[in-house]
């Protein structure tokens, strides 16, 4: 096992509604009010929520961002999208969880057909040599061209459909790897689903020989 330390991560969630909601039935004012109440503690102010009416049929959206645009939220007729980038540490995970659940709670009147959860992690392996050695172990060593990445597909379980797990060189860290985990699911997003997603990520990391350690332990 090789010790890896998470240096930076991003998370995104896309929801598709069971049925597209036309502008007249969207209730954007009510949703904006709920969002404002929920996210005022994160610094959201009324003039930072934007509505684009589009053609006033299905082409509209409601958007806002937090944390100096490192998290963005978008509601459209067909679904919603939330993304968080440049997160650091466990405390940020709590904030992301709270924001995701809070955002979806504000849209609770819409029925979700399917969601896609995705995580992007840049993890340090200590040194560039260690990183390259690790990546080479992911493929056959007798090839002339060395392997520097991998894509795994984890079978579906009771929550997630097939999960895609990608390993690559990190462009952000000279001694790091980039990991991308993505899976679709149809049940409503809860704390439990997020916990299962983290478990799936760790299990797949484990499969390829990476063990995540806290920065103090590395």
């Amino acid at each position: 096992m090789i010790n890896a330390t998470t240096k930076q991560y991003s998370v995104s969630l896309t929801n598709w509604f069971a049925e597209a909601v036309p502008y007249r039935e969207a209730g954007l004012e009510g949703i904006a009010k709920k969002l404002l109440r929920k996210f005022s503690g994160y610094g959201l102010r009324p003039l930072e929520i934007f509505q684009r009416a589009g053609d006033r049929l299905f082409d509209y959206d409601l958007t806002f961002s937090l944390f100096n645009r490192n998290s963005t939220f978008r509601l459209t007729a067909e679904g919603s999208h939330a993304a968080f980038q440049n997160a650091l540490g466990d405390k940020d995970a709590g904030v992301i969880t709270d924001c995701l659940l809070g955002f979806l709670d504000s849209l609770s009147e819409r029925r979700t057909r399917e969601s896609n959860l995705e995580a992007f992690v840049h993890a340090s392996l200590g040194s560039a040599e260690e990183r390259d050695r690790f990546l080479r172990t992911l493929g056959a060593t007798d090839r002339k061209i060395s392997v520097a990445g991998l894509v795994l597909y984890s079978p579906a379980d009771e929550t997630f459909q097939e999960a895609r797990f990608l390993v690559d060189r990190s462009l952000a860290l000279p001694d790091g790897v980039f990991l991308n985990w993505a899976a679709r699911f149809s049940e409503p997003l809860t704390q439990e689903v997020l916990t299962k997603a983290v478990s799936s990520f760790k299990r797949l990391s484990d499969e390829i020989g990476l063990e995540f350690v806290s920065p103090q332990a590395s």
Partner: protein, 220 residues
């Protein structure tokens, strides 16, 4: 942005706002280090420009430190750190004393009580601020509470007057509310209720009871 030089590049050839996935990097100038678009989440897949997006010409890059209108931007140090900066800025309409208190609580480390207490959760700070902003804007008369952390990392808000006390304690998904009052004969009576964080009416009613606007405990 060019990964090697750190300079902003207009790949559209039109000299306007960036578009598509490339835009995901450029809407957050504080991000560091630079990460290629393929290794970032897709922000706003349809790339609708937001009207407040800073214009391209205000950006410059000096020694890999992004500047806006000549002033260097601080590096983004994570969501919880950004929350602290927000409270330091005092732009939430709360007293400076309350903002200072929030900043102090956010700095607490594990074991701050000399035992096994959890650090104060940043999201709990946000819930507390949302509640205070909501009460402040809804009620004609409102006093800020005394704010304390619990060993589980949640917030406890306390109000006291001669007759009544009111406490809101955060839990994972609600406020646990305890009210107490001294009756005419001197006996102390306690009331307890768990109220969802989004149940504005009951949260307001609890404060109105404390303030004397309600004679009877309002939460069933």
């Amino acid at each position: 942005m060019n990964a090697k030089t750190g300079t902003l590049v207009d790949r559209s050839g039109l000299g306007g706002e960036p578009s598509g996935v490339l835009a995901s990097r450029e809407v957050c100038p504080r991000t560091t280090p630079f990460v290629a678009a393929s290794q970032q989440p897709r922000f706003f897949d349809f790339a609708q420009p937001v009207s407040t997006r800073p214009r391209r010409e205000f950006f410059s890059n000096n020694n890999n430190r992004i500047q806006v209108a000549g002033s260097p931007l601080n590096e983004f140090e994570g969501f919880s750190h950004e929350l602290r900066s927000l409270y330091v800025s005092g732009r939430l309409g709360l007293s400076s004393k309350m903002c200072q208190r929030l900043v102090e609580l956010l700095a607490l480390q594990r074991g701050w009580d000399g035992g096994m207490a959890m650090p104060f959760k940043p999201e709990e700070a946000a819930h507390t601020v949302s509640l205070l902003i909501m009460l402040n804007s809804t009620l004609p008369r409102f006093n800020e509470p005394f704010l304390a952390p619990t060993i589980a990392g949640f917030a406890q808000l306390e109000w006291h007057n001669k007759q009544r006390t009111l406490e809101f304690e955060g839990t994972s998904d609600a406020w646990s509310i305890v009210g107490s009052e001294t009756k005419m004969r001197g006996e102390r009576v306690y009331h307890q209720a768990d109220v969802s964080r989004s149940d504005i009416e009951e949260l307001v009613a609890a404060y109105r009871w404390f303030d004397g606007a309600e004679l009877l405990w309002p939460i069933i």
